[in-house]
């Protein structure tokens, strides 16, 4: 029964993708416009960009930036979030800062970083980190606030070291919040990073998209977009989903 319903769901998912393809093809044929190439045209452009090595290069550059800024934002955000969640006076003091940083538009942070620090690689990374950090802090702080006092007391009574308490008692409780921050973080970062690259870098997906915009090259634009979406999907499927499943296995 489950296997059959699984198959049914898969069939539905595939047919919905096919439907998008058909609609796109149909529109492209009817409109017959330079600004809406057919799926076949985009696929060809995609393939050429892949074998020329251009697409893999820019994709790798962007992914590298993503990885670095993501790692910095997550680790810093976790540390600050836990601190604020466990320390009331620190939380009261820094709460306003968080609200301010949360509400500064991403574009403003990016422009300021470039204006103040120049069109440098690390200024670009800093801009992404600053945009992402407040979200991580808020979500981890929420988790740190709701840590079970019962379990912390248990750890204390059984003389757990600080490290042991963190690894075995605190981190598993924060895990769902970390996963939420990771998910929302990835989608946020990859939107921001394109703008960062568009405004101040001479390589990466954002830079390329800017180029295609100036050339009105919609086929390349779509080809690059697909590459990006596919990579993000792969990260979700190959890294995040398994992590999630592993962490949920104990739940009833």
């Amino acid at each position: 029964m489950t296997r059959r319903s699984n198959r049914r769901e898969q069939a539905l998912a595939i047919s919905s993708l096919l439907l998008i393809g058909c609609l796109w093809e149909l529109l492209a044929v009817i409109l017959h416009s330079h600004t809406l190439p057919t799926p076949a045209k985009v696929a060809m452009v995609f393939w050429q960009a892949v074998i020329s090595g251009e697409l893999p290069y820019h994709l790798a550059v962007t992914l590298g930036r993503m990885l670095i800024s993501f790692a910095i934002a997550m680790s810093l955000g976790c540390a600050i979030g836990i601190w604020l969640g466990r320390n009331r006076s620190a939380d009261a003091f820094f709460d306003n800062w968080l609200v301010i940083f949360l509400n500064i538009p991403a574009l403003v942070t990016i422009i300021l970083c470039y204006v103040w620090f120049g069109l440098e690689e690390w200024a670009a990374i800093l801009a992404v980190v600053l945009n992402k950090l407040p979200n991580v802090v808020v979500s981890i702080r929420e988790g740190a606030r709701t840590l079970s006092k019962d379990l912390l007391e248990m750890a204390e009574a059984y003389r757990f070291s600080r490290r042991k308490t963190f690894v075995h008692v605190i981190w598993p409780q924060l895990h769902p919040f970390v996963m939420t921050a990771t998910r929302s973080g990835l989608s946020l970062i990859w939107k921001i990073i394109l703008v960062v690259e568009l405004l101040g870098r001479s390589n990466g997906m954002g830079y390329q998209l800017h180029l295609f915009f100036q050339l009105f090259d919609v086929a390349s634009l779509l080809a690059y977009t697909f590459a990006f979406v596919m990579v993000i999907q792969l990260i979700e499927m190959l890294i995040l989903k398994p992590l999630d499943n592993k962490a949920r296995s104990w739940r009833r």
Binding site: M154, A157, S249, R252
Partner: protein
């Protein structure tokens, strides 16, 4: 071998702008390898007292001394709720409290005695409350404690399960004796287990009676003996009735 010296002159906390006094002038000496039951009404501050002895609560006036030869005494604590880590299996929960290499045979034998061998690789949330409580008891015994604190470990269990775990607990303790502070408000349970009964008043908590239980250890399973002792106790110390 650990004896506990409790001397608390005052334990209070602030609630809604008022000072609530939980414990005042409480002195209690627990001898090494003695099983002491603290009996008192709900909310009288027994859990607070155990937390103070465990070192979880340092906001009080007074001293707790655990006389112990050798390095720091091992302390086992069975809380009122099982407090197992839900993300680890039963076995991992027990192994975690042991420092260094967990002795597999000890855990195996404890699991077998508590009849949990079958479920040792289950996650706690898949077990009944009674089973979870047994795991919590094993966890406390596994560290080979010098001092064992137990806070109503059988509360909210049905009478047969409570009796079964109580018997298991008692036989474990007879095999590996250590100093026990056991909180309960069930007088029969206290008589079945304790060397000494300490009766406590509602807040601010004080000791009203300190009564040794003169029933031989082999006869603690005899419900008649327990009942007779209880009748006597209530006749001789009518004041106890007011606090049960």
């Amino acid at each position: 071998m650990s004896a506990i010296q409790i001397d608390i002159s005052d334990k209070s906390y602030q609630y809604d702008g008022h000072t609530v006094r939980t414990i005042s002038k409480l002195q209690l000496q627990v001898n090494a390898n003695e099983f002491v039951c603290l009996v008192g009404p709900s909310g009288c501050g027994k859990t607070t007292l155990l937390n103070i002895v465990a070192g979880l609560d340092s906001q009080f006036h007074g001293h707790i001394t655990i006389n112990h030869d050798g390095p720091k005494p091992h302390l086992g604590y069975v809380f009122q709720s099982p407090r197992l880590l839900p993300w680890y299996t039963v076995r991992k929960n027990i192994e975690l409290v042991l420092c260094g290499l967990p002795p597999a045979e000890l855990i195996d034998s404890l699991l077998a005695e508590m009849q949990l061998t079958e479920v040792q690789h289950f996650y706690p949330e898949r077990l009944s409350l009674g089973m979870q409580r047994r795991v919590a008891i094993i966890r406390a015994f596994a560290i080979n404690p010098d001092v064992l604190l137990m806070d109503e470990p059988f509360v909210s269990l049905d009478a047969p399960s409570a009796r079964q775990i109580r018997t298991l607990l008692y036989s474990l303790w007879l095999q590996r004796p250590h100093t026990v502070l056991f909180v309960t408000h069930d007088l029969r349970e206290a008589i079945a287990l304790a060397d000494r009964l300490i009766f406590l008043t509602p807040k601010p908590m004080q000791i009203v009676a300190d009564i040794p239980v003169g029933i031989a250890r082999m006869e603690r399973n005899d419900a008649g003996k327990i009942e007779a002792f209880r009748e006597h106790l209530l006749q001789d110390f009518p004041i106890i009735n007011r606090f049960l």
